[in-house]
């Protein structure tokens, strides 16, 4: 047991860091937000260092309930990075309303997500998921004075509870018919003859997880929650939890249900195509850019699921690469949104208000154009690369029709991404004056991510290939 503790340093650091920050907040009050922010960032950095230090370890701890491996490590690094950015960007957004709980909640959510990515037992899976979700419900309604925020929190909570119920039902079926909650044990049970109980278990578990990654048809909450939640929180929702849930789904599918690929592959294929198409079509009519980005996340999850549907190591590698690139792009896009304030200091969220942005703030518009084209997967932007990997995995797994359908549907998605560029570049200036104030931290994050997503990213492919291969290989 003590030996096991040495292998979960990242989780320990996050727990202790989170509790210390919480205590500081309780005793020092809301005025020291800078201090809590710093404490939380340091905690995340330390946890990331611990993850890197554990690189190459491949162990199962606490009676096989938690895996310490490169797969979890890769996901955790992305999660911690996205969490750090959401902490960095918060104070400017909340202005006076920033409270000590914000960094604490993000830390606990990150802890929960780390556990999700590493769980190899249905019980730890559920614990991690709920730890993350409970923090997320509070974060969604963090702006107490804003009706939309409260509504978002409530909606997220009610639908999240429903999804948890489905997940738990699925878990109970799997446990009932396999006699164990351990992934390896479930896989062994699935290796034999599949009985209806196990199949129902697979369906319900996947449905519950599909809710978390907001795959169609379990996506309904996404646009409302993204629109209502405060923008830094939305940036967080769109990035880190997606990574955790996708990693979890991948691990469950490959590790626990691997032998039953015939049973779940068609479910994933359906989720993938439905998400791509609905995510693309649903986005077309949107007037609010946060809602649009919500549909964009649904759309992108669909592409990731294509990689998962392949069920091969190349597919998992593609999913991981996709997650990283997607997180950088999405966080960048939300950061651009955070720069858009009108003369009164209100945040601009409507798409028509972006008209002519390229003439008011050329740099910002260019960065947004990079993010949009990258999300659309148009080369030479780096968003093309993970899409290529995903389709390559699908083609090599003999899923050519899926790849063809997915790539054709990606053209529908391209429509609304280039429509944003049209608004920013082709349309005449809107009435809304965009405030010109700049923030060095946010500006540099935007610049770095936009540069990385332009052609520079291609130079990182060898590195990414090695990292994702190291992560994906532990599942096979």
């Amino acid at each position: 047991m003590t030996a096991d503790l040495a292998l979960i340093w990242p989780e320990l650091i996050l727990t202790i860091g989170g509790l210390v920050t919480l205590m500081l907040g309780t005793f020092l009050g809301d005025r020291q937000v800078g201090l809590y922010q710093l404490a939380a960032l340091l905690t995340l950095a330390a946890a990331a260092v611990a993850v890197v230090a554990l690189f190459g370890v491949n162990a199962s701890v606490f009676s096989n309930t938690l895996a310490v491996d490169n797969f979890g490590g890769f996901a955790k690094l992305v999660i911690y990075g996205a969490s750090a950015v959401s902490i960095l960007i918060a104070p400017r957004f909340f202005a006076g309303g920033m409270r000590a709980e914000y960094p604490v909640l993000i830390l606990f959510a990150a802890l929960g997500m780390g556990i999700m990515a590493s769980s190899r037992d249905l019980m730890t899976l559920y614990v991690g998921l709920e730890l993350n979700s409970l923090a997320a419900y509070v974060l969604a309604s963090f702006m107490r004075s804003d009706d939309r925020s409260s509504e978002a929190g409530l909606k997220y909570f009610v639908l999240g509870a429903l999804a948890s119920g489905m997940l738990l039902y699925g878990i109970s079926l799997l446990y009932g018919f396999s006699g164990t909650t351990d992934f390896a044990g479930i896989a062994a049970a699935m290796g034999g003859k599949l009985n209806p109980g196990l199949i129902f278990g697979i369906v319900f578990v996947l449905a519950g997880l599909a809710f978390k990654v907001s795959a169609v048809p379990f996506h309904m909450w996404t646009p409302d929650v993204y629109e209502g939640a405060p923008t830094p929180v939305t940036a967080f929702f769109a990035s880190a939890p997606k990574v955790a849930a996708m990693a979890l789904m991948t691990r469950v599918a490959i590790d626990a249900m691997g032998p039953a690929i015939g049973a779940w592959q068609q479910i994933i294929i359906f989720l993938a195509l439905a998400s791509i198409i609905l995510g693309a079509v649903g986005a077309i009519g949107q007037k609010n850019i946060k809602r649009l980005l919500a549909y964009s996340s649904i759309n992108n999850v669909g592409f990731m699921l294509i990689g998962l549907a392949a069920g091969t190591q190349a597919g998992v590698q593609a999913v991981l690469t996709y997650l990283l690139v997607y997180v950088v792009t999405t966080v960048g896009a939300f950061l651009v949104l955070l720069q858009l304030r009108d003369a009164d200091g209100n945040y601009v969220e409507s798409i028509p208000a972006l008209a002519g942005l390229s003439q008011r703030r050329p740099g910002l518009a260019a960065a947004m154009a990079v993010f949009m084209l990258s999300l659309a997967g148009i080369p030479p932007l780096f968003g093309f690369w993970p899409k290529l990997l995903v389709f390559q995995a699908a083609v090599n797994a003999n899923l050519v029709p899926l790849a063809v359908a997915g790539i054709v549907a990606s053209v529908i998605g391209a429509f609304y991404y280039i429509a944003i560029i049209k608004t920013m570049y082709f349309d005449d200036k809107s009435e809304v004056e965009i405030d010109g104030s700049r923030n060095i931290v946010e500006g540099s994050i935007i610049t770095v991510s936009a540069l990385w997503l332009s052609i520079v990213g291609y130079l990182f492919i060898p590195m990414l290939t090695v990292a994702s291969a190291a992560a994906a290989s532990v599942l096979f």
Partner: protein, 522 residues
């Protein structure tokens, strides 16, 4: 061959200049762009002079293995690519000059987009890695989307969307085919893939996927509808580069990928290409005849010319393919020149309606002269570039199928009809309208654009050997690759009297025979 990495430099110069254009201010941006594109032109001409005709098939090769992980930074050109690169670098400074005064807003961004376009075009023709090629091929959509969308005409947004989505939809299927090819052959190296024998039934699918992409890019009837919209809305220089080089990417894709990589499928599905080409030649020529918008008319004539290219390529013989390549080069120069001719009078009167003009020969004689030259080159008058290309390709087509040749030739007659009709309505007739009377003749800047275009059009017409020589060996290679799959012809062409000089022996005899042939056609 010197050790200079010509191709990388050709890519780097406009790329650096494009970034510079965004920061140096509007006035300087023009000079930066012009300087960079002229430097690139000089560099590409030096490269041409160092290109060894009859030397290695692939020259100026650069390879950085593993730079991008699973695919390589591999560049290299053969004669076909060389000529298309020179065409791109030749047209680019002219495009920038053509926009010198007509573009007044956001000049820095405009110049940056054009230079980005140049990078993309050179990259497409120079890439020797399948994925690198695709990246360049698709990347071309972005600058063109901006060029049409920001600086275009009244309906520019619609045209920009249509251009982007139409061509994207075609391209993505090609990507899936490429992935399948990489999986099958285990390499992304284009020269290796060109000699790889894919299973015949797989070839059919791959061919169709490539065809979906390249036919849109080309464009072939019935997927040409984006082209008139894009041309009409694009600014003059945008149309010049679109007709001049972007359409050639389609033709290049045919001769570089579809024919050598899928020879069996090409033979088997040849009828599709012939059928669509025949419809296109006749139909789009007739459509061009009734246009009242100058740019639309030339856009439709582009579709008709490109149909001769596709038919010529699929003739599977030396003349056909060489002719098709010359048509592409000639059309690159001539259609760019024609769009510029439209631009010249559009800048003065701000309308593309043919009826608004008339009698320009009186007050714009120099303009009328150049316009006449390019009209004749478009029709294919002997002595101009159009003749060489059309004669060779139709001779090649006849060898493959006399019926296709017959239909394609009617296109040339119709071409003469719509071009001369256009010319008559604009340049001849009474000079009655007051605003037309007030139009001044060409200014020095316009002279500077017209003269090089005219010189090249005549050079290609009088001494095409300069352009045929670099590509001859590569065309022979393609023909040899296609020979086993080549279907029988209905024309039963037999060699003339001096049996020894017959060019039926496709392989090694052909170069010498061709030189004779091309020279003899003058």
């Amino acid at each position: 061959m010197s050790g200079l990495p010509f191709l990388s430099l050709l890519l780097a110069i406009p790329a650096v200049a494009a970034i510079a254009c965004l920061y140096v201010g509007e006035r300087n941006a023009k000079f930066v762009a012009l300087g960079a594109s002229l430097l690139n032109l000089v560099l590409s001409l030096v490269m041409w002079s160092q290109f060894e005709i009859g030397g290695a098939q692939w020259q100026f090769q650069e390879l950085h293995k593993g730079l991008f992980g699973p695919f390589d930074y591999a560049l290299g050109i053969d004669g076909l690519a060389l000529l298309l690169i020179v065409l791109s670098t030749f047209l680019m400074p002219l495009c920038i000059l053509a926009s010198w005064e007509s573009i007044t807003k956001r000049v820095g961004l405009y110049m940056a987009m054009f230079l980005a376009m140049e990078v993309v075009m050179i990259g497409v023709f120079a890439a020797q890695d399948l994925l690198l090629f695709y990246i360049f091929f698709e990347a071309g959509l972005i600058p063109m989307y901006f060029i049409i969308g920001i600086w275009g005409g009244a309906n520019r947004k619609y045209a920009a969307f249509k251009f982007f989505l139409y061509t994207l939809l075609g391209s993505v299927l090609m990507l899936i085919a490429m992935i399948a090819m990489i999986a099958e052959a285990g390499t992304t190296d284009i020269p290796t893939l060109m000699s790889y024998n894919f299973p015949v039934e797989m070839q059919t699918w791959l061919w169709l996927a490539f065809f979906a992409s390249l036919a849109v890019k080309m464009p072939m009837w019935p997927v040409h509808t984006w082209l008139p919209d894009a041309h009409v809305q694009a600014p003059t220089a945008g149309s010049m580069i679109l007709a001049g080089v972007l359409l050639k990417m389609g033709g290049y894709g045919f001769v570089r990928f579809m024919m050598p990589m899928f020879p069996d499928a090409s033979a088997q599905l040849m009828w599709i290409v012939f059928a669509l080409s025949m419809v296109a030649v006749v139909y789009t020529s007739l459509v061009a005849l009734v246009q009242s918008d100058m740019k639309k008319l030339i856009a439709y004539s582009s579709v008709a010319h490109m149909a001769i290219v596709t038919a010529g390529l699929f003739a599977f013989n030396q003349q056909g393919i060489e002719g098709a390549m010359i048509v592409m080069l000639s059309h690159g120069v001539v259609s760019a020149a024609l769009f510029f001719c439209v631009g010249v009078i559009y800048d003065r009167l701000h309308t593309r309606e043919i009826d608004r003009y008339g009698g320009l020969a009186v007050n714009m004689p120099a303009y009328a002269l150049f316009f006449m030259l390019f009209t004749m080159a478009s029709i294919g008058l002997p002595g101009t570039s159009g003749f060489v290309g059309e004669f060779l390709s139709i001779a090649g087509i006849y060898e493959a199928s006399s019926w296709v040749a017959f239909v394609c030739t009617t296109g040339i007659i119709l071409g003469a009809a719509y071009m001369l009709y256009l010319y008559r309505r604009i340049v001849f007739g009474e000079l009655t309208k007051d605003d037309v009377k007030a139009m001044p003749d060409l200014n020095p800047r316009e002279w500077a654009i017209m003269v090089p275009l005219a010189a090249v059009a005549l050079w290609m017409g009088v001494y095409p050997e300069s352009f045929l020589a670099p590509m001859r060996g590569d065309v022979t290679t393609v023909v040899a690759r296609l020979a086993p799959a080549k279907p029988a012809s209905d024309a039963h062409v037999s060699a003339g009297k001096p049996k020894a000089a017959a060019d039926h022996g496709e392989g090694h005899e052909a170069p010498a025979g061709e030189a004779h042939h091309a020279g003899g056609s003058q």
